[in-house]
């Protein structure tokens, strides 16, 4: 299941793709949001990895799936807010900041 820091309930579509029972010792990875960019903006992880985005800017940002409908939406992350997701299934997941759409990133799950 998504981490407790989620600020929005995931949509039904997301549940099918992303949600599965937590593994006891799942890998973790972090993406920093800094200077209006996702760092790293492309990341490859193993299935089951818990990814956490943290906003280090003085401006709010979002982590929003580019899929239609979106597979995940963080809602507004204020400075130092985090958003976590567990990626259980392989695939390529593109996302952007819905406030500053030039900010884009991709997670590849293997």
């Amino acid at each position: 299941m998504p981490g407790k820091m989620d600020r929005r309930a995931l949509l039904g579509a997301a549940a099918a793709v992303l949600c599965a029972p937590h593994r006891a010792f799942a890998a973790e990875a972090a993406i920093e949001i800094k200077d209006f960019a996702f760092n790293p903006d492309a990341l490859t992880v193993r299935a089951g990895t818990k990814l956490t985005w943290t906003n280090r800017d003085d401006t709010p940002h979002t982590v929003t799936s580019t899929a239609t409908p979106p597979l995940f939406k963080s809602g507004a992350l204020d400075s130092d807010d985090s958003f976590a997701l567990v990626f259980d299934n392989p695939g390529t997941f593109s996302y952007f900041c819905s406030l500053h759409p030039h900010m884009q990133g991709t997670v590849i799950v293997r």
Binding site: D35, D58, A76, S94, L99, P101, H102, Q104
Partner: protein, 309 residues
């Protein structure tokens, strides 16, 4: 815009205005005069004020007292020689669309007892598809479409159009108006005399100021195409927290200062984030804009004044 000029060309067209410079645009030719010049002496038929980007809720180093600087802006408006007929707020009233932030903004702006018209910034539409903002700040407007956050009205013969280019933004894109809003705009302008002065206000610049930072509107050119037949079009935007101007034919574009914090010039920093002014200099880079409509003239006289006075 579809015909994007090279960045150098755009920058050459930008004219930076300090406090106390009067801009008047006649026949597509911008002229600047010092405050106290002839434009000041002329009695305006009516005037209005633009404020922008109050970001109530922001509390970082760039400005730890945004309610205070918004209050200072309202104080400047109250002190204007000619009381404005109305005030336009070009968006980012709040920082995070929180009810308490909307409350504070409404209280500070409302204390001025002025006729205020709002368009949303992206920071105002974070909750519930923007409904809280629309209900609270646009409830009195005749909505172009339910939930669309765009509208128009007339004042003293000038047609004012408030647009929303901050919702449904697409990955990699700029601000966007969308097909429904453009269809409404075409209908709104249909049959209007080309001699009627038009004032368009929207949050993100309708012209491409700097695409790498998203400072533009991808279908802005389609709106401008509908406006080109008019003899006097003034486009007022916010979002970039600094004054820039450009003239294309009969269309004059202006971006406004914020009442909260400055942002860097295009490409001048790693990101467009809030910029910390030197100690004691903050109010010199925040400000309000007064626009005077002179009777019998198509030109609008525009005065940008910093909060430092």
């Amino acid at each position: 815009m579809s015909s994007q000029p090279a960045r150098r060309t755009v920058l050459e067209c930008m004219l930076w205005a300090g406090a106390g410079v009067v801009w008047s645009v006649a026949g597509g030719v911008p002229r600047s005069r010092l405050l106290g010049g002839p434009a000041q002496a002329a009695e305006a038929a009516f005037s209005f004020v633009q404020i922008s980007d109050s970001h109530i809720g922001f509390n970082k180093d760039a400005n730890t007292d945004v309610p205070g600087t918004l209050q200072a802006a309202m104080g400047q408006i109250a002190a204007l020689k000619q009381a404005p007929a109305l005030v336009l707020h070009s968006g980012d009233v709040s920082h995070l669309s929180k009810p308490a932030q909307f409350d504070t903004a409404a209280q500070i702006i409302g204390a001025g007892k002025l006729d205020v018209h709002y368009v949303p910034g992206e920071h105002d539409m974070l909750e519930d598809d923007g409904r809280p903002f629309i209900e609270r700040f646009q409830g009195r407007e005749k909505a172009g479409a339910a939930g669309g956050a765009f509208y128009s009205f007339d004042q003293n013969g000038v047609h004012f159009i408030g647009l929303n280019n901050v919702t449904n933004l697409k990955a990699g894109g700029l601000g966007i108006l969308g097909a429904a809003q453009l269809a409404w705009l075409a209908d709104d302008l249909n049959g209007r005399a080309a001699s009627q002065p038009i004032v368009v206000f929207a949050h993100i610049p309708l012209w491409t100021v700097y695409a790498p930072w998203g400072w533009g509107t991808e279908d802005g050119e389609r709106a401008l195409a509908l406006l080109r037949r008019f003899g006097s079009v003034t486009v007022l935007n916010g979002h970039i927290h600094q004054v820039m101007q450009k003239v294309e034919g009969t269309v004059a574009f202006h971006t406004a200062r914020s009442t909260a914090f400055p942002q860097p010039a295009p490409g001048a920093a790693a990101s467009p984030g809030p910029m910390k002014a030197d100690a004691g200099k903050l109010r010199g880079v925040l400000g309000i804009r007064e626009v005077q409509v002179i009777a019998g003239q198509a030109e609008l006289a525009i005065v940008d004044t910093s909060l430092a006075g």
